[in-house]
Each structure stands twice: as structure tokens, then as C-alpha cells.
């Protein structure tokens, strides 16, 4: 798609007046501890690397994110770390940045239709598959599963669902119900309650993030039936729930590591050093032991 060049191009590799280079971090949202950890990781790394980090938040709205990326361009940051709200909507913003000679590094989710300097993320499809494999082992390849989905239209929800569902299809297990609970704990609770009313014969719940999984745990509280809850993310609350046995497992991402690698990559770009096109941050399945 051709967006003709705006005249107002910023000077390449701009820097704050003080001389410290400025890096912009455009977050999809901070309404989720996952991204707060990612931001913390980035902030720590920025301190160590001696760069100034400017954080903008899109509140999960792609249009707002484009605006904040534009604001970062106007601020003439040296590198933009982009955690896209959605994989398909940010190509234009990335191109605008590149036209202003500002390299873009995507974090946690990718951008379709635009080249970026580097992409740092967990493999969500693989993560979904890990959860399915875990359940296959734990349930002996048989059983009924409820799936709590993330916000419809986000790549995380899509990819995890795909990884999980495709793998489940190869086993004797069955996803008997799937409903979005929008990555939200309160909704995870009520949706689980309702689905459990409708499906009494359920052995496991897979939630596409820990917040929803923790809601499901509440829905199961008081029920003397064993239902395995598997989450995704490995947030502090999620890990604690795995330790206490309330959750069976979580596919832990390393958001702090994603943030840290992002800033380090940005520093390399500023120093004109080569960077890797794609950095996969390992996922780890956490269980009680």
C-alpha cells in the first residue's frame, strides 16, 4: 500500500537535547500485568543501557496506537519498540516510522505487511500446542475441555487458539465449549460458571491467559470435582496459583525478558550494530513441581 511521503521527516537517529538517546515504547495496554512486567523489564534495561525510555499506551485501540506512534515520531525518538494491539493494523505506522528513519522493533506480537528491524516474542502457536500437549499427558489423551478465549480479534487469542485447537484435534480430547472472556478475570469467572452449568462432564479448562484462568479457579471453588486449569503467561498471581495447586499449569512467557531484549536491541540499532531479525523468547510450561 502506498502512502506518499510526508514532508515532515525527522532527522535520523535523533536524540534528546541532553545527549542521551531516547527510545519509545508503544504498549498495547497496561490493563494486564503481563504488559506491566514487559514495561518493567524495558525500564530496567534502559537504565542499565543509559537510554531514556518514553512509554505510550494505546488502551488496546489500534487507532490510538497509530496516534501514539506518530507522536513518538514527532518526538524524534531513536528507536520505536512496538507492542502492537493487533498484528494487521499497524503496518502504516511502521512505515511512517521508517520513512522518518526510525527503526521499529516489534515486541510480543508481530506486524503483518511491514518489515521491522527485529521481532522479539514468544511463539504463541507453540504455546497453545504446549498447553494441549500437557493436558493430553495429564488426562491420558481423553477428556472434555472448556476453552476461555482472549479478546476476539487479537493475535494472541487467535494464535493460542489455533495452536491449542489444532493439537487437541490430533488427540482423543474434545473442546466442548469455547467462549471469550476477554483476558479478564471477572469475565473468566462468570463465563466459567455458566459453561460449567451447561457442561457437567468437564476435565480441564484452558484459558488463554492467567487472568481468565484465575477467574476459572474461582468458579471451581467449592465444587468438589477435579478440573485441571491451565493458563498462559506465568504472571505472579498465576505462578502462585500453580504453586498452591489451584492451577495445574501455566505456559509461562518471559515478559520482562521481552522488554529487556527490546531495549538492548534498540541500543544496538542506535550504535549501528547488527541485530537479529527475529528473537524467540523461550516459553516454559510451569507445573507444581
Amino acid at each position: 500500500p502506498g502512502e506518499s511521503a510526508p514532508a515532515a521527516a525527522a532527522t535520523a537517529g535523533g536524540a534528546a537535547p541532553s545527549g542521551t538517546p531516547v527510545v519509545g515504547l508503544a504498549l498495547s495496554t497496561q490493563n494486564n500485568p503481563f504488559f506491566v512486567e514487559l514495561k518493567d523489564g524495558a525500564q530496567k534495561a534502559a537504565k542499565d543501557a543509559g537510554v531514556q525510555l518514553v512509554v505510550v499506551d494505546a488502551q488496546d485501540d489500534p487507532a490510538r496506537q497509530i496516534s501514539s506512534v506518530e507522536d513518538l515520531i514527532q518526538k524524534r525518538v531513536s528507536v520505536i519498540l512496538l507492542n502492537p494491539t493487533d498484528s494487521s493494523a499497524l503496518a502504516g505506522a511502521v512505515q511512517s516510522a521508517q520513512r522518518a528513519n526510525i527503526p521499529v522493533v516489534t515486541l510480543d506480537r508481530g506486524v503483518d505487511g511491514a518489515e521491522v528491524a527485529s521481532h522479539i516474542a514468544s511463539d504463541n502457536v507453540a504455546g497453545g500446542k504446549m498447553a494441549a500437549d500437557y493436558l493430553a499427558k495429564a488426562l491420558g489423551g481423553k477428556g472434555n475441555i472448556i476453552e476461555l478465549q482472549g479478546v476476539a480479534g487479537t493475535s494472541a487469542a487467535r494464535e493460542r487458539g489455533k495452536g491449542f485447537d489444532d493439537e487437541i484435534a490430533t488427540t482423543g480430547m474434545k473442546v466442548v465449549a469455547q467462549q471469550p472472556a476477554n483476558f479478564d478475570r471477572a469475565q473468566g469467572l462468570s463465563v466459567s460458571e455458566n459453561l460449567l452449568q451447561a457442561n457437567s462432564d468437564v476435565q480441564a479448562i484452558f484459558a488463554q491467559n492467567d487472568e481468565m484462568a484465575l477467574g476459572a479457579v474461582q468458579a471451581l471453588a467449592g465444587k468438589n470435582k477435579k478440573v485441571l486449569v491451565v493458563g498462559f503467561d506465568g504472571t505472579p498471581d498465576g505462578k502462585a496459583a500453580v504453586q498452591s495447586g489451584e492451577m495445574a499449569a501455566t505456559v509461562a512467557q518471559q515478559p520482562e525478558e521481552i522488554g529487556k531484549l527490546g531495549v538492548e536491541t534498540a541500543k544496538k540499532l542506535i550504535d549501528k550494530q547488527p541485530v537479529e531479525k527475529s528473537i524467540a523468547v523461550p516459553l516454559k510450561l510451569l507445573t507444581k513441581e
Binding site: 500485568p33 467462549q179 469467572l189 460458571e193 451447561a198 457437567s200
Partner: protein, 314 residues
């Protein structure tokens, strides 16, 4: 003349019963369509789910009856929940923490009331402003992370049962219903709420003191939102910075579905309870029936529209 009067009463009653009939119909349809629906367990589950919205909607009923609107209820819920959880995390006791949360809700509500009365700001925009502001305060306070709750006594508030059967939030809901209903119909305060919504200028000229009334009305809404926030926090074992997003619309929908006029001056609290139940049973039923979540919203939109079309005053 006497006839006219009775007729007018009957008309009002019929209109009011619209929502009740709607609820009954939904109930029957769901009982037939889903075998899981008409079980004690499920019904109590729905009642528990509804309780949060109902608590907020009771307060909203007063606000709307008085001709106002309160968009900040969800934001107040989130902040008071977070503060309560935060105080407990800092080692304070349950009573002090919950008390502080409730007080905060009351005060924040009164700030809305002050903006509307002394500040003469339209309620919609005043509470839109405080909503935005309080959401920001909550995010700053929690730094975006949930605050976990460990106090097990506190967890009972939203998660406990009476007689091992009836969830405590259901009890709170009915207690609040009785108290608020009484406040509305049996006291001078309630009478003045309706009068303000019916004709503010006339109420003022009759000696109703608008500013204190508005402080009290929005304060009540804030208080009930805070209470809902505490119950929700207890149920979730944690306070969420983004809890209660969109709850204002759910509460308004419950009030209006119940037959209370958005322009103020006309309505009843029972209708709000019915409205909240209608929404709750609909959500539950659609899930039980396994309706795809994409279509759930379509169905909900249609039900809202049909209900208000049936219930409208000509």
C-alpha cells in the same frame, strides 16, 4: 374523573409489568430449551452473578430518578476495591479496610454530586470526567497489577454461603434492595429524589434543598458502587485495576429495562432488580445454550431493544 384515575393507574402498572412479563417469558423459554437452566444451583449462580450489577444499579436508580446519570460507577468500584485490597495488603484489618473503601466510595460519589450541583456541570459529562480521572488514579495506585487478597475472612464476603446454599452476595443484594426500596418509597428523601427528577425548579421552590440532595444521591450511588467493588474484590481474591469497565452501561441498562425513565421522575426499584435479572438470565441462558459469543451480543442487543419497545410510554 375517578375512572380516569384508575385507568391511569392501570396503565402505569401494565407498563411497569412489561419487564416482569419479559423476565417471566425468558425464564420459561430457557427452562424449556436448556435442561441445565432450572436447577437450584444454576439459579443461585445467576443470582450471585447479578448481585454486583444489581447493587450498582440500585444506586443508579436513585441517580436516574433524580434526572441525572452516573458514568463513574465502574471506576469507583475499581478504585475502592483496590484501596480496600491495598489496605489489607498493608496489614490493616478487614473492618478498617472495607470501611475505608466504603467511605471513599461515598466521598467520591459526593464529589460527583458537588460537580453537578455546585459546579452546575451536566451529570453525563461530570461523571465522564471523574470516570476518566479515577481510572487513571486506580492505574497509578495499582501500577497496573492486581492486588491479591489473602485475608480469608474477607474472601467470605463475596465467596461465602449462608446455610451452605445461598451465596452471601445474594443476601447483600436483597438486603440492599429492601433498604433502598424503603428509602425510596417510605422516606422524605426518596420523595424528594422523585420530585427533583420530575421538575427540579418546582422542587426547589417547594423548599427541597437541591445541593444537599444531590450530594446524597450521588453519594449513595458511590457508596453502593464501593460496596459492589468490595464484594467483587472478595470474589476474585484480588483487586483488578481495570475491574468494572463498562459496568455503568450494564447498570443503566438494568434501570431502564426495569421501566425507569431516563429523563427522571418516574420509576421503581423493583423494576431495576427485574432488569438486572433479565440481563443476568440472558447471559447465563446464552452460555448454557452454547450460543456463539459473537451472536450473544446480537441477541442481547435485540432483547434490549424489544424490551424497551414493549415497555415504552407513549
Amino acid at each position: 374523573m375517578t375512572l380516569q384515575l384508575n385507568w391511569s393507574r392501570a396503565g402505569t402498572l401494565l407498563q411497569r409489568l412489561g419487564s416482569v412479563i419479559g423476565l417471566a417469558l425468558l425464564f420459561i423459554v430457557l427452562s424449556i430449551m436448556s435442561p441445565d437452566f432450572l436447577t437450584t444451583g444454576n439459579l443461585l449462580t445467576v443470582l450471585r452473578q447479578v448481585s454486583i450489577n444489581a447493587l450498582i444499579a440500585f444506586g443508579m436508580t436513585f441517580v436516574i430518578l433524580a434526572g441525572g446519570i452516573d458514568l463513574s460507577v465502574g471506576a469507583i468500584l475499581a478504585l475502592t476495591g483496590a484501596v480496600t485490597a491495598g489496605l489489607m495488603a498493608a496489614g490493616h484489618g478487614l473492618v478498617l479496610s472495607a470501611g475505608a473503601g466504603l467511605l471513599l466510595g461515598l466521598v467520591l460519589g459526593m464529589v460527583n454530586g458537588a460537580l453537578v450541583s455546585w459546579g452546575k456541570v451536566a451529570p453525563f459529562i461530570a461523571t465522564l470526567g471523574t470516570m476518566t480521572l479515577l481510572r487513571g488514579v486506580t492505574l497509578s495506585y495499582t501500577q497496573g497489577s492486581p492486588i491479591p487478597v489473602t485475608n480469608s475472612g474477607f474472601a467470605l464476603l463475596g465467596g461465602g454461603y449462608v446455610a451452605n446454599l445461598i451465596p452471601l452476595p445474594v443476601i447483600w443484594m436483597f438486603v440492599a434492595f429492601v433498604l433502598c426500596g424503603f428509602l425510596l418509597r417510605g422516606t422524605v428523601f426518596g420523595r424528594h429524589v422523585v420530585a427533583i427528577g420530575g421538575n427540579e425548579e418546582a422542587a426547589r421552590l417547594s423548599g427541597v434543598r437541591l445541593s444537599p440532595m444531590k450530594l446524597a444521591i450521588y453519594g449513595l450511588s458511590g457508596l453502593l458502587s464501593a460496596f459492589a467493588g468490595i464484594v467483587l474484590t472478595s470474589r476474585l481474591y484480588s483487586a483488578q485495576a481495570t475491574a468494572g469497565a463498562g459496568y455503568e452501561l450494564d447498570a443503566i441498562a438494568a434501570v431502564v429495562l426495569g421501566g425507569t425513565s431516563l429523563s427522571g421522575g418516574r420509576g421503581w426499584l423493583f423494576g431495576t432488580l427485574v432488569g438486572a435479572l433479565l440481563i443476568g438470565f440472558l447471559n447465563n441462558g446464552l452460555n448454557l445454550l452454547g450460543v456463539s459469543s459473537f451472536y450473544q451480543q446480537v441477541v442481547k442487543g435485540i432483547v434490549i431493544l424489544i424490551a424497551v419497545l414493549l415497555d415504552r410510554r407513549q
